[in-house]
């Protein structure tokens, strides 16, 4: 008897210790699909699509624009641990049905975890089991793989079947499709998707805290800092018994992203295209001349106890910081322009509102002035976004191209993004649509990514029939969020914004196989932030020197050389 009790006890401790931390363990497993069969409307929305002209007679195996024999392709889709399996849900079923009907092509979706996508795709590519259509935000990865002979050259495929891809060309245009065409070799490793809304990063502060302390929304860096100090000093008032949990400003290990508004305000507002390009290996502005001083500001904040001390310990995708923000301990942070609105009933603002009442929410503020007093910040570029590429193991290039054409079609995109009327959205007066959270009964209709953008591979961001409709609807794309907050976030994100330039000067070979640069960049950022003020310079300089010697300098040199080769001594793009 005693033995039994003991073993039960031990088992329980074991289970508890496992369960207690189970949430923290980064999940890399793809969820097993539970049956989410649901009737799917095959009703096509109002058609503004371009019908493909009759397939040229020489295309073998096709008749009336359809394959005679069923073809099979597999397509990557990001897995964000959503309510339904990423690769088997109402929306993927709809796409499968459409592709089968339209082209007699059988589509299989392969789920790839969003936060480890590059690693995962690398593994799949190396194993030769990558999906026929892959996509990633990271061009150097594609380039590296192409040099190993793992990626198909799309140039001949596209030129051969161009006539059959009217929607792909209609949406992306030659500009996006041929953006990565090598000017010398004539090779094309991927097709660049297009971003339909280009808002990028905002600074958010707790509106109810400002109100409680009687502080106006900060409009300068000094005011922002004063506000953080006020949060710190009034922790008792704001958090009561949890005062010791106060985090005035929260960042993650990825400082380059999570302090972007600050960092970009230290850039030269009159930066030349050439300098921008030379320093543009990634979008964290690490090697820009002003960045060091921006990080010095963060270092000051850190040493004043204004920044979360544990920020560097949590890996990408860990939800600890989000949980802390949702618990209401955080006063301000920077992140994607719509970060507090994402995820319906589980969004930061929705959770805060539910816990602390209506007024508890984050609002976007603009407070990092550049040397001219403007709020310079970088948006995304509409040209070039996610890049779709075909591994060499893809033996259905035409079927895959037709899939890209289908997924670029206006009616397809619109249906996937809006979802079902009455379930995913309602139509407002004037035709704008408002996204709503799916209710219990319709969980199967959950869009695992906002507006299903993970499925609309070539389109990132809401894309309705007209731009007016899109803009009018954008504010309503977040369930459980006050549209006025979204409008404000969009306004702030666009004030004095600059669009990153797209430069195409061919392959930068120094950029292939340098995966440790990101680590070195983040390590430098993080170590500089936590350094003692007296050590700041030496820590930053040592980190920078290491980054440059590990390949950073080679990249900048090669970029410079290629720029000069193509544009001569011009400082700006033509």
């Amino acid at each position: 008897m005693k033995k039994k009790v003991l073993s039960v006890l031990l088992a329980a401790t074991m289970v508890l210790s496992l369960a207690a931390c189970g949430e923290k363990a980064p999940s890399t497993s793809t969820s097993t699909p539970d049956s989410t069969e649901a009737s799917v409307s095959t009703e096509a929305p109002a058609s503004t699509d371009v019908a493909a002209p009759e397939a040229p007679a020489e295309v073998e195996g096709m008749k009336d624009g359809k394959f005679v024999e069923t073809r099979h392709i597999s397509v990557e889709v990001y897995d964000r641990d959503g309510a339904t399996p990423a690769n088997d849900n109402v929306w993927t079923d709809w796409i499968k049905a459409q592709m089968l009907e339209k082209y007699n092509v059988e589509v299989e979706f392969v789920a790839v975890p969003r936060w480890t996508e590059v690693d995962q795709i690398n593994n799949l590519l190396a194993a030769g089991t990558a999906p026929d259509i892959c996509y990633t935000y990271d061009y150097p990865t594609i380039q590296t793989y192409a040099t190993m002979g793992g990626v198909q050259d799309l140039a001949p495929v596209i030129s051969q079947y161009k006539d059959m891809l009217p929607n792909l060309f209609g949406w992306l245009g030659e500009e996006n499709i041929y953006m990565d065409l090598d000017p010398v070799e004539g090779t094309l490793w991927c097709v660049e998707g297009r971003r339909n809304n280009i808002y990028r990063i905002n600074t958010f502060v707790r509106a109810d805290w400002l109100e409680k302390l009687g502080i106006a929304e900060p409009t300068t860096r000094a005011e922002f800092e004063a506000m953080l100090v006020a949060f710190r000093d009034n922790a008792e008032t704001l958090l009561g018994a949890d005062a010791d949990k106060m985090v005035p400003f929260s960042v993650s290990y990825d400082i380059g992203w999570r302090a972007a508004n600050l960092i970009e305000s230290f850039m030269d507002p009159a930066i030349s295209d050439k300098d921008y390009y030379v320093n543009g290996y990634d979008d964290r502005k690490f090697t820009e001349p002003g960045t060091k001083e921006a990080v010095r500001v963060l270092n000051g904040w850190y040493n004043d106890g204004l920044i979360w001390k544990d920020f560097a310990l949590y890996a990408s995708g860990d939800t600890s910081e989000d949980d802390m923000i949702k618990a209401g301990y955080v006063g301000a942070f920077m992140h994607n322009y719509d970060y507090p609105f994402r995820n319906g009933a589980d969004s930061i603002n929705a959770v805060l509102g539910a816990t602390y009442g209506e007024g508890a929410k984050f609002v976007a503020v603009d407070c990092f002035e550049d040397k001219n007093g403007n709020y310079t910040k970088y948006s995304y570029s509409p040209a070039g976004d996610r890049k779709a590429f075909f591994p060499t193991t893809n033996d259905e290039p035409l079927a895959s191209m037709l899939y890209l054409d289908f997924i670029s079609t206006q009616s397809t995109v619109e249906y996937l993004q809006k979802g079902e009327e009455g379930i995913n959205h309602k139509v407002l007066d004037g035709g704008a649509i408002a996204i709503q959270a799916v209710d219990e009964a319709n969980v199967a209709y959950t869009q695992n990514s906002g507006n299903n953008i993970d499925l609309t591979m070539t389109t990132n961001g809401l894309r309705l029939a007209t731009d007016e409709l899109t803009n009018a609807s954008l504010a309503y794309t977040y369930a459980n969020v006050d549209p006025a907050d979204v409008v404000k976030a969009m306004t702030v994100a666009f004030r004095d914004h600059k669009v990153p330039i797209s430069v195409s000067v061919g392959e930068i070979s120094a950029e292939t196989g340098v995966s440790n640069l990101t680590d070195k960049r983040d390590a430098t950022f993080d170590n500089a932030v936590i350094a003692a003020p007296a050590d700041f310079d030496s820590v930053w300089d040592a980190g920078m020197a290491e980054y440059l010697s590990a390949g950073g300098q080679d990249i900048m040199d090669e970029r410079l050389a290629k720029w000069i080769a193509v544009y001569g001594d011009a400082l700006m793009l033509p």
């Binding site: 590059v118 030769g128 060499t392």
Partner: protein, 313 residues
């Protein structure tokens, strides 16, 4: 009159095969397993000397520059690689110095316990961490050791002390790394010693008692010598792994603040090989690692034989 066959000095394979064919038949499967999964893949070692091409067989890939040594040269010019070697050896040595005696001491202590039931309970609890993955252990460590939210530091700061940077400062991180490693493995590692202790002839203890030896004397003169050969074998095997080591422990525990001590060869290979797709470079690194590992293994074995122990072969 049938003559009993005496096996000749010269081995007659055919006869053996015919006589014990069932046994050899049983052996077939393991042999095939080793050939397919252990020996056949060795041809990919050539990647270290070749330019990796994804679609081609390893025989068709072109040779790398500098007589195929290009990637070895590249590796040894790489500061990260040198640092990874340093970290690997340092962390493994610490592991060996602290982690190797721990299970022995634990086994000795357990062996002295009189209360059987208590002993079993302690043993079981000590085994448990072995079954936790490093991802989980690190999550636990974060809850306990994180600078502001960790249990211990919350206690320390509430008592008016200064938080200890267990995970976010290089030296402390090494200590935490080693400590957690010992914590995970000492219980499990003690099993083999307990088994060895159980094999010691009890008459020796009785005789020692008669001679008036106390507990400590018996431990020192009977138990320890009794498990000496086990200790040596395990030590040799541990020394063989001095350049290797697991991937999940350093990878789960690293963060950007401690990369200078946390980057070890397995993570270096992962970051540069799998993430950076530099297969040739990292195969070269892996090969180097294995060769050094074999060297350590052989020398440890040689030394132990010189010292009169059996070694592992």
């Amino acid at each position: 009159m049938s003559k009993v066959k005496v096996p000749k000095k010269k081995t007659n394979w055919g006869a053996y095969l015919r006589r014990y064919w069932q046994l050899y038949f049983l052996l077939l499967l393991p042999i095939v397993y080793f050939l397919v999964f252990k020996y056949k893949p060795m041809e990919f070692i050539m990647i270290a000397f070749k330019e990796y091409k994804i679609g081609k067989s390893v025989w068709e890939m072109p040779w790398a520059a500098n007589n195929g040594m290009k990637y070895f040269i590249k590796a040894f010019k790489n500061k990260d690689f040198i640092r990874s070697i340093r970290n690997t050896v340092t962390l493994n040595l610490f592991d060996l110095v602290v982690g190797f005696p721990a299970p022995i001491i634990f086994a000795l202590i357990l062996n002295e316990l009189v209360l059987k039931r208590f002993k079993k309970v302690v043993q079981t609890i000590a085994y448990m961490p072995h079954f936790l993955s490093w991802v989980i252990i690190y999550s636990l460590a974060l809850q306990i050791f994180a600078p502001t939210n960790g249990l211990i530091n919350v206690l320390i700061t509430n008592l008016g002390g200064e938080a200890i940077p267990f995970l976010n400062e290089s030296k402390h991180w090494v200590a935490t790394y080693i400590g957690l490693g010992v914590w995970q493995n000492f219980g499990w590692g003690s099993i083999v010693y307990l088994a060895a202790i159980a094999g010691i002839n009890p008459e020796l203890y009785e005789a020692a008692s008669v001679d008036g030896a106390g507990r400590f004397k018996k431990m020192w003169h009977i138990t320890l010598p009794g498990i000496k050969s086990t200790i040596v074998v395990l030590l040799i095997m541990n020394l063989g792994g001095i350049m290797g080591g697991g991937f999940d422990r350093p990878f789960a525990m690293r963060n950007t603040l401690v990369l200078d001590v946390a980057e070890v060869l397995p993570t270096f290979v992962y970051i540069n090989g799998i993430k950076g797709l530099q297969f040739s470079l990292t195969t070269a690194v892996g090969l180097f690692q294995s060769v050094v590992g074999v060297f350590f293994l052989l020398s440890a074995n040689w030394i132990s034989r010189k010292l009169g122990e059996r070694g592992i072969w």
